[in-house]
């Protein structure tokens, strides 16, 4: 926080950050107040075809204040740190705008104050690697893709960043956390006449540069796949038995079930609460879905969430039965459950909302061959373009797909989109593999906050009666 403190001193303050915050929080008559400060730095590199099109660096600092009065929140975010006390007062005033008859009593899941400092441990911190090294590596991937047959163009998007966050609240918590993040996407674009097809790869890490090194073989592979898609047929739309690879099954776990486990969708919706009753069966005994921010070195890992709640492993589904869900302090209190440490904000411009961390389907015992076994006509779907959910219905799109005929992988297909109702689809998972893989690429978007670093994963899974879109 050195630059920030210097900045405050420059404005005539002469106090430590902690004192400054505790002074600003005093005597406003709110039920609860918290304050976030953040300093961040990032580097972005983008290629389009052979051109290194954008290379930029950014520095950003700012903060926010959140105040709770009778169940209603006020939120103030800022770049300028002067007048902190006035900003707190504004947040309290905003919180009081809700008419008292609709506001409930003070309700946040109770927590012991935490004072801690978290520093990432990295072998090779990407944010400390020179631009020249990064460019050399990305050039090598780009050259491989662009020199492959039928490849017209490419995209590379690389981004690394470091955030230093300070959190304090009116209950006495004071936490400093530093976090690094790294994200790379490679895309090869093939073209022949009017046909354009693409294939891509997403990687990421908590700032460890080695995660994006040595991907030359993968770069070659996506280039040849993009070219192979040019003459590939489109799947005939309809209902199929599908096998999902670990990457796409991870996206399924995230989109189809993970978002439904976010309690801010549930806690004020009585009908939805009846659907999501703990103890209800959602799938077979082989189905376990877990969200866990405590696993070391995944992009969705962290020690405290943005409300200062310590994190823990959370079983969402255990042996097919709904066991838990993801909470902020507020949703936990309203639903009479425990805060899980899932209140997260992408940066200081936004209040924390309930988000996932590392979400995955736990491994089972089926082998890939067993899954293929008795499928007469099905689709094997791999990799992802994206996914989205409306809670009940989800869609996600596979970057790579093959027909399955008579228990064997057959022709390559154009990318397909899968959709379904989450409740029936979970019941229709009839085989879970043993080969858990975690996918660290991409990011999650919700409520205008995107992309949040998360990871997701799964072994291969098989789903009966899945709707696959095509022409």
């Amino acid at each position: 926080m050195t630059a920030l403190v210097a900045f405050i001193r420059g404005k005539g303050y002469n106090k430590s950050m902690r004192d400054l915050i505790s002074d600003a929080l005093k005597g406003h008559g709110a039920d609860y107040i918290e304050i976030h400060f953040e300093e961040s730095q990032s580097t972005s590199i983008a290629y389009r075809g052979e051109r290194l099109e954008e290379i930029s660096r950014a520095r950003n600092s700012g903060g926010n204040i959140r105040a709770l009065v009778q169940g209603s929140w006020g939120f103030v975010s800022f770049n300028r740190l002067d007048g902190l006390r006035d900003k707190v007062a504004l947040a309290v005033k905003e919180a009081r705008l809700a008419p008292t008859e609709s506001g409930g009593p003070f309700k946040l899941f109770p927590m012991e104050p935490v004072v801690d400092k978290v520093v990432p441990q990295l072998k090779q911190d990407a944010t400390a690697i020179s631009l020249a090294t990064k460019k050399e590596l990305l050039d090598s991937y780009n050259n491989i893709m662009l020199s492959s047959p039928n490849i017209q163009s490419s995209r590379i998007n690389y981004r690394d960043g470091r955030k230093q966050r300070t959190f304090a609240n009116s209950e006495g918590s004071y936490i400093e956390q530093a976090k690094t993040d790294l994200n790379l996407r490679l895309t090869a674009i093939a073209r022949e006449d009017n046909e354009v097809q693409q294939a891509g790869l997403s990687m990421g890490s908590t700032g460890e540069f080695s995660a994006v090194e040595g991907l030359h073989e993968q770069a070659r592979e996506i280039a040849s796949r993009a070219a192979a898609l040019l003459p590939a047929p489109q799947v005939k739309g309809g209902e199929y038995t599908v096998i999902l690879d670990p990457v796409l099954a991870g996206v399924f776990a995230h989109e189809a079930f993970g978002h439904l486990s976010e309690s801010d969708f549930v806690y004020q919706n009585e009908n939805l609460q009846q659907v999501m009753v703990l103890g209800k069966r959602f799938g077979g005994k082989h189905l376990n879905i877990i969200d866990d921010p405590t696993i070391p070195n995944l992009r969705g890992s962290y020690k405290y969430d943005d409300e200062g709640t310590p994190t823990r492993e959370n079983y969402l589904i255990r042996e097919g039965i709904l066991e838990g869900r993801l909470h902020s302090r507020e949703t936990a209190a309203k639903m009479g459950e425990r805060a899980t440490g899932n209140a997260r904000a992408i940066n200081y411009r936004f209040p924390p909302i309930v988000r996932m961390s590392n979400t995955f389907i736990a491994p089972g015992s089926a082998s890939f061959e067993e899954m293929l076994g008795d499928i007469k006509e099905g689709v094997y779907v791999k990799d992802w373009y994206g996914g989205t959910t409306s809670l009940e219905m989800f869609t996600f799109s596979a970057g790579e797909a093959y027909m399955i005929r008579q228990g064997r992988l057959a022709e390559l297909l154009r990318p397909v989109v899968l959709t379904g109702n989450v409740f029936t689809t979970l019941q229709n998972i009839d085989a879970i593999g043993s080969d858990l893989g975690m996918n660290q690429g991409g990011g999650c978007g919700k409520g205008g906050q995107s992309p949040l670093p998360v990871s997701n994963g799964s072994p291969h899974i098989r789903i009966r009666h899945c709707v696959v879109g095509g022409r």
């Binding site: 300093e39 099109e53 674009i189 739309g237 309809g238 004020q268 009908n271 659907v275 989205t388 799109s397």
Partner: protein
């Protein structure tokens, strides 16, 4: 402006050319209702500054916001310039258009009190619940002003203010495991309180049409895309294809099609940054190039692509005034798009259908190969038409198609257009032969 001059002066010492851009929003206010109740009131103060330099012929770029960042701007830009792309253009020495020519600031926005915004949210929720009492509405009422400043080392200098007022509603109705999502939004540079009624009426129409359920079968069907449907299903591939960057690298399916008829003769589309009080409007773009009304498609013929300075220079053409920054590097992007009206009423389109779909909202439509023009996704909100009548809402239904095939021959274009999200003004489009897939075949 003074701190921008300071950054420009220190950049000039190390670079051949330089440009400083800044956006500041003193207080954007957002009122959020969750599950029909006021949940949160937000005030956001933000400012950021971007520096672009040409050093030894290469582009360097850096952004900063908050304390301590401005001093670092020049160093960061110099560092990136070692690897940046060769600069192929010059910064414009004069910004021709006076900011008064494109009105996008309404001082009335500043006068609306938070309390009034809360009232607006309540009114809107009350209207919707008057129709469907057990619906849960999330409503956002937002407003704010921004001040944009741009100066460059070639003498170019400009500044303008804009204002914003927006209203959005998402309603959810859960019955057992069935979830119905409805919703719509309005946005403008000026507060328009009649928009509340329009928005409520559209959402009530959605609720009314969704009262019954209907099933379709897996086959090719005609589809009416409502204005919302056009945006959620068809827009992304087109925006990408008309982007000068896609054209320059040869990835756009339209790259060789200038002057050729690619779309239905009834279809015309233009980008217009000069619409009074349009949220996508501006007097000059984020690089200082005057905004304009740019035809993209005229009677089905491809007319223009969207360019910023660098892309235009590389393509051997002129910037179209579409250089925009979403917090980062300037890139070509749409301002606001307008799709021409046709001559068919919505009712006539519905009556014309023996069996078909009305698509209002598609989920995940831009996850496929949008560069190739593909769209496809789950019909989040859509209605079945049978023998000229809307018979109910469809579920478990996917549509898929390719915009270049679908828009080549249209069955009809609606005679009434409306704005969606401040991005696109469009009538409904009546399309044939869309692939529909559903559960149970």
């Amino acid at each position: 402006m003074e701190h921008l001059m300071e950054v420009l002066r220190s950049a000039r010492k190390v670079a051949e050319q330089a440009e400083v851009f800044s956006v500041s929003s003193p207080d954007s206010i957002g009122i959020q209702f969750e599950a029909n109740e006021l949940k949160q009131v937000q005030t956001k103060e933000s400012s950021s500054t971007a520096l672009r330099i040409f050093k030894e012929g290469r582009i360097g770029f850096a952004t900063a916001s908050g304390g301590g960042g401005l001093e670092a701007l020049v160093d960061m830009a110099v560092e990136t310039s070692q690897f940046g792309s060769p600069a192929s253009f010059r910064f414009p020495p004069r910004f021709h258009r006076d900011y008064l020519e494109v009105p996008i600031f309404d001082p009335k926005v500043e006068e609306i009190a938070m309390e009034r915004m809360v009232e607006i949210g309540k009114e809107l929720i009350a209207k919707i619940r008057g129709h469907t009492p057990d619906i849960l509405c999330d409503v956002q009422v937002t407003k704010g002003t921004s001040s944009i400043s741009l100066i460059n080392s070639q003498g170019g200098e400009g500044r303008y203010n804009s204002s914003f007022f927006g209203l959005s509603l998402e309603g959810i109705l859960v019955r057992d495991t069935d979830m119905l999502f409805v919703g719509d939004s309005e946005s403008s540079c000026r507060p328009d309180f009649s928009g509340i009624d329009d928005l409520a009426d559209r959402v009530i129409w959605q609720l009314e049409m969704a009262k019954k359920k209907a099933a379709v079968s897996t086959k090719l069907l005609p589809v009416i895309f409502t204005p919302n449907g056009v945006v959620s299903a068809l827009l992304s591939p087109l925006v990408l294809a008309f982007n000068g960057k896609s054209v320059l690298e040869g990835a756009s399916p339209l790259k060789d099609k200038l002057g050729e008829q690619v779309f239905d003769k009834k279809l015309s589309l233009w980008d217009d940054a000069t619409i009074a009080y349009g949220v996508g409007s501006y007097p000059f773009d984020d690089e200082g190039v005057s905004s304009q009304r740019l035809p993209l498609v005229t009677n089905g013929v491809v007319m223009n692509f969207l360019y910023d300075l660098q892309t235009a220079a590389l393509a051997g053409t002129q910037s179209t005034g579409n250089g925009q920054r979403a917090g980062g590097f300037p890139r070509p992007d749409i301002s606001s798009l307008i799709l021409s009206r046709g001559d068919v009423s919505f009712q006539a389109m519905v009556e014309d259908m023996k069996e078909g779909l009305i698509v209002e909202q598609v989920m995940g439509a831009d996850q496929g190969n949008i560069l190739g023009g593909d769209f496809g996704g789950n019909v989040l909100l859509g209605f079945k038409v049978e023998n000229g009548e809307i018979v109910g809402r469809v579920k478990d239904t996917m549509i898929a198609g390719n915009v270049y095939q679908v828009l080549k021959e249209l069955l009809g274009i609606g005679q009434e257009a409306r704005w969606v999200g401040g991005i696109l003004q469009t009538p409904p489009l009546y399309c044939s032969g869309i692939s529909v897939a559903t559960k149970g075949n």
